[in-house]
């Protein structure tokens, strides 16, 4: 019997198809990605069975950290620019164009108004280290109320979301809710994580 000749095949594979798939997936993830804004505090939101997703636009978020500090953030650069202009007019503290720009790019902040310039002067990478004491929200100096009110004037469609840490003490939450009610915001959302809790009839 003659020897069966096994033809030597090249080991190189056509990679084109694989590249196509890889880049298709890459494109998808690039477009679907929304970078998480760097928060000054990490908040561990409580879980609930609520299933309403948080809207992306027209929202301001009041974050309450577990040690009771209050942070404020708002979506939309143009609204934030308007917000800081309005706030600077009210507080009679002038802000330079550069600071206004910085403010519109900043995600969440939690400093009294008097320290805001200091915070804006920091580089955005350094801000995480800045000791943010929280926005004053007590009755003697309720800056949070100003922020909420001016934010609503800047964007009249804005909705309020409260993102509290699960270990935040209730009095702080009560304070924030009372402030909201004071400013005639009677409808707001609590941000929660989804759990799969069995539902009973």
């Amino acid at each position: 019997m003659p020897k069966v000749k096994v033809p030597r095949k090249s080991t190189s594979v056509d990679m084109t198809a694989m590249t196509d798939v890889a880049f298709l997936l890459l494109t998808f993830f690039m477009l679907a990605t929304q970078f998480k804004p760097d928060e000054p505090v990490t908040v561990n939101a409580p879980s609930s069975v609520a299933e309403v997703p948080l809207p992306d636009v027209d929202i301001m978020t009041i974050t309450i950290s577990n040690d009771g500090r209050v942070f404020f953030s708002m979506e939309g650069q143009q609204y934030k620019e308007e917000l800081i202009r309005k706030m600077s007019a009210i507080k009679q503290v002038p802000f330079s164009e550069k600071e206004i720009k910085e403010f519109s790019l900043m995600s969440s902040f939690g400093v009294p108004f008097s320290q805001l310039k200091e915070l804006l002067a920091e580089k955005s990478e350094e801000r995480a280290k800045f000791n943010q004491s929280g926005i004053p929200s007590d009755s003697t100096n309720n800056e949070l109320a100003d922020w909420i009110w001016q934010a609503r004037l800047s964007n009249n469609k804005v909705r309020v979301a409260i993102k509290g840490d699960q270990d935040a003490n209730f009095p702080v939450v009560k304070q924030v809710i009372a402030t909201l009610q004071d400013k005639k915001v009677n409808r707001f959302n609590f941000i929660t994580n989804l759990t799969t809790e069995s539902v009973e009839k």
Partner: protein, 223 residues
């Protein structure tokens, strides 16, 4: 694929320019490597699950006493959120108008949820109102296309506006955590309670928590 004419410099020997055919194949392996590296990066940075929200409607603050709805005593339950994830609840006695003995419970399944569900059922049975629709189940049915959106909305509205159902008054103590508030609002959703209110706690009730805690040496913690 595009053809690339390889080898342009064939004039040395004076003869015909002999275009040397070079392979047009390119090694794609590094490109794939790069592609997958970037995919991995984007996959890890993407946060796919969006946060969920719970909507709260608070009453308008400036309501006069007359405008406030008077709650029928037999229909209401007051939940006091205390520290250490405990709840003190009491009913108001219909005859005397005095609060009944407070009971301590917790957020476990057999705790506050069992109380709310049984009390709600009892009230609905008494009123012969068999509205046992469940908000989460209706939502689920809508999602799986068993019912239309309008039907879901009207049936949920039916649950919420049921005149005979339990009314819950939520009062959180200063030592309570934010988690407790969200949990109890969650229970409202699970137990189909459409009418509830978050009210500030009075000093009287804060004392009530203290006495209730003090009197119960071994708190009842049903599991």
């Amino acid at each position: 694929m595009a053809e690339i004419e390889g080898g342009g410099g064939g004039h040395k020997k004076g003869g015909k320019p002999k275009g040397k055919k070079m392979s047009t194949r390119v090694d794609f392996t590094p490109m794939v490597d790069l592609g997958f590296l970037l995919i991995t990066f984007f996959m890890l940075t993407t946060s796919m699950n969006k946060p969920k929200t719970m909507e709260i409607n608070m009453p308008v603050k400036e309501v006069t006493e007359e405008e406030k709805q008077k709650v029928k005593a037999s229909q209401a339950i007051t939940l006091l959120l205390a520290e250490n994830d405990e709840i003190v609840y009491y009913f108001i006695n219909e005859q005397t108008g005095e609060p009944e003995t407070p009971v301590i419970t917790n957020f476990s399944k057999g705790g506050i949820r069992a109380t709310l569900l049984s009390k709600n059922k009892e009230l609905l049975d008494k009123a012969n109102n068999n509205n046992y629709d469940s908000i989460p189940i209706l939502r689920e049915m809508y999602k799986t296309n068993q019912i239309k959106e309008d039907e879901m909305k009207s049936r949920i509205a039916g649950i919420k506006s049921n005149k005979d159902a339990l009314i819950v008054v939520i009062k959180a103590d200063d030592k309570a955590k934010y988690k407790n508030l969200v949990d109890i609002l969650d229970e409202m959703l699970i137990c189909n309670i459409g009418r509830y209110a978050i009210v500030d706690i009075s000093p009287l009730e804060a004392d009530l928590i203290k006495t209730a805690m003090a009197t119960s040496n071994s708190p009842v913690t049903p599991k």
